[in-house]
């Protein structure tokens, strides 16, 4: 599964670094390195909302504090 996190200017300011760190830890803890491929991307065109995260082509808007919930639902939920 391909997950991309936007690290463009606006998303960076909204905490993409924090989200990436959390996701990397969660992937590791759940031993999903082979299944989940974390990537960066530049501007996804949805700068108005939260940090842009794409899971298999579908765009989500995330806040750092919602990362765990998002991981459980959208990533674990799809596996």
């Amino acid at each position: 599964m391909r997950v991309t996190i936007c690290i463009g200017s606006a998303c960076h300011l909204k905490g993409s670094r924090d989200i990436i760190a959390q996701l990397q830890t969660l992937v590791k803890e759940n031993h999903l390195e082979d299944k989940v491929d974390l990537n960066g991307s530049f501007c996804c065109g949805d700068c108005v909302n939260g940090v842009c995260v794409t899971v298999e082509g579908q765009l989500y808007s995330l806040k750092p504090e919602d990362t765990k919930e998002f991981f459980d639902k959208e990533i674990m939920g799809r596996l």
Partner: protein, 393 residues
């Protein structure tokens, strides 16, 4: 063949002084580069004023084609007379290198220019002319690629006098150290910093005099093309990218901006891959596109680049630590390093589109400042003695 130069200088202020009594002017005419170093008598404000006036007068008059006699005349007539010493005095050196390789050196009372060619010291003959009772050395010669010319104030040869060294750092010893460092360092900036750094050591970090080293290296042209921001009209995407990628292969290409990177990737049909490695938590990671030297995020990175360049131009704390900062693998350091050390002319390709999301007052940083940043970038790079052109889309 056109001659291009890499110029840089660094100064140490006399211990406890806020202002430097040495002044360097870097100028360009249509067909030449000029480097002027003036050392005002005394220290602090007085010396600073004398040196600034001298270098500015020389620079302005030279640019307008005045003769050396006229320049010296004007300086003698204009400089304020010191009340303590009853003289108006500032030393100066002028180095003008024409694009056809002709060079012209004028020296008045500064330590002699250090001229390095093929890794060896070349002596500069004395050819003294007296103008208004001032003995001025004049030398016309030809430069070639690889030459390095170093102008300095007498703070260098006085380094350590009476403390670590009986008679200071003798010119011959400064010169042989410069020759050795010339082989190790790649850029004018690093060479100048290493030399003033050595002086600072000899002064035990308490310089007894203002100390300045100005370096000019004769090198190949090193154009850098930097693209930032999407064009106002999306239909101009291709034009902008083609312009940005134009020019010979020697031009290094840099993209600063997420959307810009996406545009370049789309137009060139080369994949964009974004790294997740944060070297500096304040700056987004860099990315890669085949054929592009460097890809970074836009305004946050450029803002940091500007800070680094300012620090360099203002000569604030440009020590070896500054270069360690420049060597870091984050986007801002990498762009700044390229502009300082690997660039003789900068061509900026700037998109004027406004991202409406950036007008959001909820963001902790004003992102809608790209054009402002670009203007500041242009000024600061010009102050470094490099040519800058800006094209807006």
């Amino acid at each position: 063949m056109g001659v291009t130069v890499d110029v840089a200088y660094t100064s140490l202020n006399k211990f406890k002084e806020v202002l430097c009594g040495d002044k360097v002017e870097l100028l360009q005419t249509e067909d030449s580069n000029i480097m002027i170093l003036a050392d005002g008598m005394g220290s602090g404000v007085k010396a600073n004023i004398l040196a600034t006036m001298t270098s500015k007068i020389l620079g302005t008059m030279f640019l307008n084609g005045a003769t050396l006699e006229e320049c010296v005349e004007t300086i003698v007539e204009t400089l304020p007379v010191c009340q303590v010493r009853q003289v108006a005095y500032s030393t100066f050196s002028i180095l003008q290198v024409f694009h056809d390789g002709e060079a012209y050196l004028v020296e008045f009372d500064n330590p002699g220019c250090i001229f390095i060619r093929d890794g060896n010291l070349v002596s500069i003959p004395r050819n003294v002319r007296v103008i208004r009772d001032k003995k001025i050395n004049e030398y016309r010669f030809k430069v070639k690629k690889g030459d390095a010319l170093i102008l300095m104030s007498d703070g260098t040869i006085h380094a350590g006098v009476g403390k670590l060294l009986n008679f200071g750092w003798l010119w011959e010893d400064v010169a042989s150290y410069a020759v050795k460092q010339y082989r190790l360092t790649i850029s004018a900036a690093r060479l100048a910093t290493t030399l003033t750094g050595a002086c600072d050591e000899l002064y035990q970090h308490r310089p007894g005099d203002d100390t300045t080293v100005a370096v000019m290296r004769i090198i190949d042209r090193k154009p850098v093309h930097l693209m930032t921001g999407p064009p106002k009209k999306p239909e101009d995407d291709c034009v902008m990218v083609y312009d940005f990628l134009s020019g010979d292969d020697t031009a290094k290409k840099v993209v600063c901006g997420g959307t810009s990177a996406n545009i370049v990737s789309r137009v060139t049909e080369k994949e964009l891959s974004v790294s997740l490695n944060y070297d500096d938590p304040d700056i987004p990671p860099i990315a890669y596109i085949e054929g592009i030297e460097l890809v970074t995020e836009g305004v946050l990175t450029l803002n940091k680049v500007l800070k680094l360049l300012r620090r360099y131009v203002k000569n604030e704390s440009v020590t070896e630590e500054f270069f360690l900062e420049l060597d870091k693998p984050n986007g801002a350091s990498m762009v700044a390093k390229m502009i300082i050390e690997d660039c003789t002319e900068l061509q900026l390709y700037v998109g004027m589109a406004i991202n409406s999301a950036y007008q959001n007052p909820g963001l902790p940083f004003d992102l809608g400042i790209r054009q402002n940043l670009v203007e500041q970038l242009k000024h600061v790079v010009e102050e470094m003695g490099k040519r800058v052109t800006v094209t807006y889309y």
